[in-house]
Symmetry: C2
Subunit: 331 residues, 2 copies
């Protein structure tokens, strides 16, 4: 009983100490939350002021390009330089403020804050996203491989389509979270995932008709090829991430930056033929669906709609990748 | 030009002041993040110690129930009382520590922290969730009403089913977030939403056959009824939330608590007949699907599977609501 008493006293002591620390913790929590709101507002106000000032500066530069002011005031050129430094600083610290969710995230998740305010954790989250893509792509790889040979069970086709619908929906959520956290992913890649969700959903409700049987095998081969390309993409993106981290840690910025860009260009050059082959396969899918829609036995609206969707996917993918490549090779 | 110079000086001043405040902000951010981790760990350790001590206390109570110790040490009874106070305290502050995501959230969202550490914002999030349910339920109400009369377009049925699949999936995500934030929602209601997603998905891939036409109209009427019940549920849950908030704000805890519980019991009593009618309609759906599956013209596996699903839904809903009601009316 005495032992119990001693145990209890020691436990009470710990709890009392914890209670004191906890009060301080709650106070700091509330302080930081209110700082996040206030400083975000101040930050946005400063950004606006900088943007107005930039307009004024540009107007002045156009009307008076070589203006030198007397004595101890600074020249336009040096003002421009200092201005750009401040702009860089603002860009650099924008990561430390929470951003509001876009309309899509607000619909799915509500107003929950998904901003990660720590650079290390942001990279971790991106890495986790690539791991997720890699795992589901492996499942898709195995599944589509099996479906090349197992052709008679529509329920298996449907399960595969459901997996794809779920996968692309989940990607749209995760990518929206990445965008809130500063990712530079182009709008087309996000739209591409929405459109692919619709595409696979329509495949799901395509009745088990003659036209379906005419296209089904081609689609399975295409999905199989796509999963291989996605594995290559994952390796590329992981390599970029790995080198981005290393860049953040090393001192010697020049050689490492050069090495990073060289690696990126090599990686992209390796990936491009596979990507473009995939895009032209999408164009071919569109063409085959078009010929199917012209046949007399075809009555399903799914054929025409999918034909249009694959054409849109081809155009968007081709154009966006072309822009990225042109920009990359011109620098 | 001088005006520009003055503008720039004043802007630079603001930026410099902001820079100083921002350094302090970043320092506090990192401090609070590390506090969250450390104090969470300490909190969990203390919880374990309390739980071991509870076992020891219970053992001692059983073997020596009336033990009184000498002089200035406390009795078992008073130790029990103090122990329970501390337990309450621990429960009360558990809301201030972030919780890890479950496996489902980790799969959809990744490791992003969805803990809301502010009581007011937790209630706001719950309210937002109820608003979301209300809005989609209204859309479902209108859509199912139209589908009662527009019977010939399978694509409209499919769109309705897609809406339901998307809605129930989104609910599962939001409910998992609520659970991370301390919601006491029973496991069955979460499972119910997963099962309903599967149910509507299967309806989606049910071929446009005779058996489908035999069940389709009944399902549309059922969905219409369900949307009405869900509107009533939303009013009930919003009423609970509103009174919970009011409870948190008022001083006179006794009468308000009593008033709250009376209102809840009244609200539940009003809701129950509608709920049970819905449950028995699920049983009836199961029965009708069973009879359809016995007919000779029925070859689709969807019929049998949906029959089982509706039966499972009936049993789970009936049993869980029965338990909630029994507990509520016995207090
Ligand atoms: C062409 C491609 C390799 C260029 O990638 P990149 O070198 O990372 O190019 P960007 O500079 O545009 O990338 C900027 C950001 O967008 C992201 N991103 C680019 N393409 C992406 C894609 N398809 N999915 C998700 N994220 C993508 C990058 O990860 C990067 O993120 P970050 O800002 O958080 O670091 C890439 O866009 C790609 O893989 N496209 C093919 C898409 C596809 O799957 N097509 C399907 C048919 S085969
Ligand atoms: C029976 C019922 C009214 C009881 O609700 P309640 O009084 O809130 O009961 P509980 O004490 O179990 O609720 C505890 C928590 O679970 C939540 N919850 C209960 N049922 C829920 C449901 N169906 N969906 C989502 N959340 C639910 C409550 O909002 C509460 O949340 P909180 O802890 O964050 O405050 C409710 O469970 C219900 O509406 N069930 C019917 C479900 C249904 O739609 N059936 C469909 C066929 S008609």
């Amino acid at each position: 009983m005495q032992k119990l008493d001693e145990e209890w006293s020691s436990l009470e002591n710990e709890l009392n100490q914890f209670q004191i620390k906890h009060k301080d913790y709650v106070k700091k929590l509330e302080e930081v939350e209110s700082m996040k709101k206030n400083y975000s507002q101040q930050f946005n106000k400063l950004k606006k002021k900088l943007s107005y000032f930039q307009e004024t500066l540009e107007k002045t530069s156009k009307t008076q390009p070589f203006e030198q002011i007397q004595d101890d005031t600074i020249s336009l050129e040096s003002m421009n330089e200092k201005f750009n430094e401040r702009l860089d600083y603002m860009r650099h610290i924008s990561d430390t403020f929470p951003r509001p969710n876009g309309i899509y995230l607000r619909t799915i998740l509500g107003g929950i804050c998904v901003s990660i305010l720590n650079k290390e954790e942001k990279l971790n989250y991106k890495e986790e996203y690539e791991k997720f893509k890699f795992r589901i792509t492996l499942i898709s790889f195995v599944f589509s491989f099996l479906l090349i040979f197992i052709r008679t069970y529509r329920v298996l086709d449907a399960s595969f389509n459901f997996l794809l619908v779920w996968y692309y929906c989940t990607l749209t959520i995760r990518e929206s979270i990445l965008v809130v956290n500063g990712s530079q992913i182009k709008g087309w890649w996000q739209a591409h995932h929405f459109i692919t969700t619709v595409c696979t959903a329509i495949l799901l409700i395509w009745p088990d008709s003659e036209s379906y049987q005419l296209f089904r095998q081609q689609f399975i081969y295409f999905s199989f090829y796509l999963s291989i390309v996605q594995v290559l993409q994952c390796y590329y993106q992981n390599g970029v991430l790995y080198r981005l981290r290393a860049l953040g840690e090393k001192q010697d910025m020049d050689t490492t930056m050069e090495g990073f860009q060289t690696w990126m260009t090599k990686g992209l050059s390796f990936l491009l033929p596979f990507l473009f082959f995939g895009y032209f396969w999408e164009l071919y899918n569109s063409y085959v669906l078009f010929t199917i829609s012209l046949s007399e036995s075809c009555h399903e609206w799914q054929v025409t709609v999918l034909c249009i969707i694959f054409l849109v996917l081809f155009c968007g993918n081709f154009y966006t990748t072309f822009i990225v490549v042109r920009k990359r090779y011109s620098t």
